[in-house]
Symmetry: C2
Subunit: 136 residues, 2 copies
């Protein structure tokens, strides 16, 4: 079984040395209604710099590009090399003006295509019993 | 500017009344190396039941299908109707056997296409100052 799906960029990451913001394309502006009630958002963007068939075949990496970290499957990391180039990062909203979401900072390159925004609801996170490996 | 990207399913959500698991396709099995060091994963799946051009045009909803909740942009919700049908959910791992990730539970339909798995690292979450609107 092999299923494929398509994504359209819904906006773009913008950043300078001092500021960061998300530009949502006009056609998706109505999808921002009420977002100002939240302090934080999940930003989903596309690791477009790795969008080649070769890089998308990467299944194992040394996390954080540290050779001392054990070889690890990409599904056990947040590596930007992975079969589907989905990036997930949590951002703090500073303000929303029109279709622009000003954010405190973001670990993405300027120009990265944004593919989704979701509100951050903390109660969805586990409060106890979280376990991670040593390299983290 | 209009950019499109493609995703390939990397596995499938499976669930019965009593159990839930993720089947990762064989070709991606190597990407699971080291995942057993984590207690929780983010599962990204595709809201395939809403994969029509019409439903993907939905930009505003009443959250949780409650008419009493204010009309809200889909980017301020986790609605399954949105331009790109990415679902994000956090799951607790029970065990990993071969390419099967047994999980405690998942808010997805049996058969949903899985598009990514990422490890859960709690330090990435804000510890204070989170704000949400009343409908949450």
């Amino acid at each position: 079984m092999s299923q494929s799906f398509y994504l359209n960029a819904i906006g773009t990451v913008r950043k300078t040395d001092e500021k960061a913001w998300i530009e949502i394309f006009n056609k998706y502006g109505d999808a921002l209604l009420g977002l100002d009630g939240f302090s934080h958002i999940y930003v989903f963007y596309w690791f477009d710099q790795n969008d080649s068939p070769e890089k998308r075949k990467t299944l194992q990496v040394h996390p954080r590009k540290e050779p001392g970290n054990p070889l690890t499957g990409v599904f056990a990391t947040h590596s930007p090399r992975r079969p589907n180039l989905i990036a997930l990062t949590l951002c703090k909203i500073e303000s929303i003006v029109g279709n622009i979401i000003h954010i405190e900072e973001i670990d993405a390159y300027d120009g990265s295509p944004v593919i989704d925004i979701k509100c951050y609801i903390p109660s969805a996170d586990p409060d106890a019993g979280v376990r991670v490996p040593d390299w983290v």
